[in-house]
């Protein structure tokens, strides 16, 4: 008999993969966004399953609450309800599926053949305060520099978005 945890894992994996496949397969763009969202939530569930609660919460906040809403908004602004996307030409579908399957096969061959080192026994403390201390530490295992670089990147992205989205005055060419 399977343990409850195992059943939950398989359910989450199925949710993630099936909805991801449907997200790239469906021809209705809004449904595609919703399937993508459920796939992202499935991944957050997998993080929860691995006891990485902080990563799961960040995933839900940023992806489900931010990026998915952004994508849905852009769908609202650029598509008409009821329109289906055109089916891609058969040749391209076959070529893409072939490439994806081939790559998948190669990666899986490598994965099965490669022995991964056995884990060190002690699990490190993953509470939020420990994460915060590591995040702002400047020593060998600190992440202060990437943290600052990411914050700069976010600032640059914000300015870039404002500049792109700013409406040019209609009377100017």
């Amino acid at each position: 008999m399977m343990k409850g945890e195992t059943i939950v894992f398989y359910l989450l994996a199925a949710l993630t993969l099936v909805s991801a496949a449907m997200a790239v397969g469906t021809r209705r763009i809004f449904r595609s966004a919703v399937y993508l969202l459920s796939s992202l939530i499935g991944i957050a569930g997998l993080y929860f399953w691995m006891r990485f609660e902080f990563a799961a919460a960040v995933q839900i906040v940023v992806y489900a609450g931010g990026i998915a809403v952004l994508i849905i908004f852009s769908v609202f602004l650029t598509q008409r309800a009821g329109d289906d996307m055109p089916t891609p030409p058969m040749l391209r579908t076959i070529a893409a599926a072939g490439a994806a399957l081939l790559g998948m096969g190669l990666v899986m061959l490598q994965l099965v053949a490669h022995p991964f080192p056995t884990p060190a026994v002690a699990e490190v403390d993953r509470s939020v305060s420990a994460i915060g201390r590591r995040m702002l530490a400047t020593g060998d295992d600190g992440f202060a520099l990437p943290f600052e670089v990411v914050s700069l990147l976010l600032l640059a992205a914000m300015i870039g978005c404002i500049v792109i989205a700013m409406r040019t005055k209609p009377n100017q060419p």
Binding site: M1, V69, F76
Partner: protein, 358 residues
Amino acid sequence: MWNLAQLTDLIHGWLYETFPPAWALAFEMIIVGIAVIGLFAGLGLVLVLMERKVSAFMQIRLGPNRVGPKGLMQSLADTLKLLVKEGMTPDGVDRFLFNLAPFVAMIAAMLLMAPIAFAKDFQIWDLNIGVLYVTAISSLNVIAILMAGWSSNNKYSLLGAMRSGAQIVSYELSAGLSILTVVVLTGSLQISDIVTAQSNGWWIFKGHIPVIIAFVIYMIAVTAETNRAPFDMAEAESELTGGFHTEYSGMKFALFFLAEYINVFIVCAIGATLFLGGWMPLHIGEWTAFNGIMDWIPSSVWFFGKTFFLIFLMMWFRWTFPRLRIDQLLNLEWRYLLPIGMVNILLVTVIAILKWHF
């Protein structure tokens, strides 16, 4: 006295003695699920009646007073009506998403119940990221509204959904910042830690002015986040004929309705936990006799009392203020609440570092 932990321990022990662990866990899950659904039904009935009564008294009316003594059965009758109504699916809608949306709203509301401490040692799941979990899951709510708005194939629904999306995404920032002030003072995201940190005084009393400002911002932001008047741009009966739930009827409409009230309850419960001490009784300094009397009142009464006080506050807003226009709404958030919240969190950090709070 009044210890709910004994009750839960008793049930837990009995289940694990009688059944194998897997089954015992499954039974516990079922019990918790039934308890949550029962709480949902009870809250829905109570809050709908409360809203109607409060609105009536504020408008010098009587409110529902026909069904049952003093109209207490009114919401039960409403539920019955909604249950037997035909659930229509209009022509030309995206059937799958249209029928899914109310359930997404309900599921998001149900997930939010997990980390709330209803009484002393009475909590479904004491997550170590409790508050962050709440902010994360509450952002799923907007997805249900966007789904309902798009799949209804109706321009009013679409407009309501877009307004609601813009509104919720922007007000989440203010709510998050004001939650962070308390997190900075406590040094933990766990709900039980936050509550025990307030054993010698609630944060709103011992956190100086910045926490009071954060409380005010929190109340405004969550009123907007739950789409209630004066921020009910998503529904706006007078402009959008009901907004995202224009096309819904019967039980599916009732689910949206219930989800709104449950969300109100949850944000008020979180507000009570963060700022007003959750189930912690009111203690004043060294007055042992007074503190003893306050301790005698059960902790669940304290929790529900504070929560319902905040709910009453939100209803008071709703029946006093006129609705904002969409540009005024975004102006309020981006020009006033967000800058004030950011300055406020800096102040709180200074207070926390210098240990000025007591």
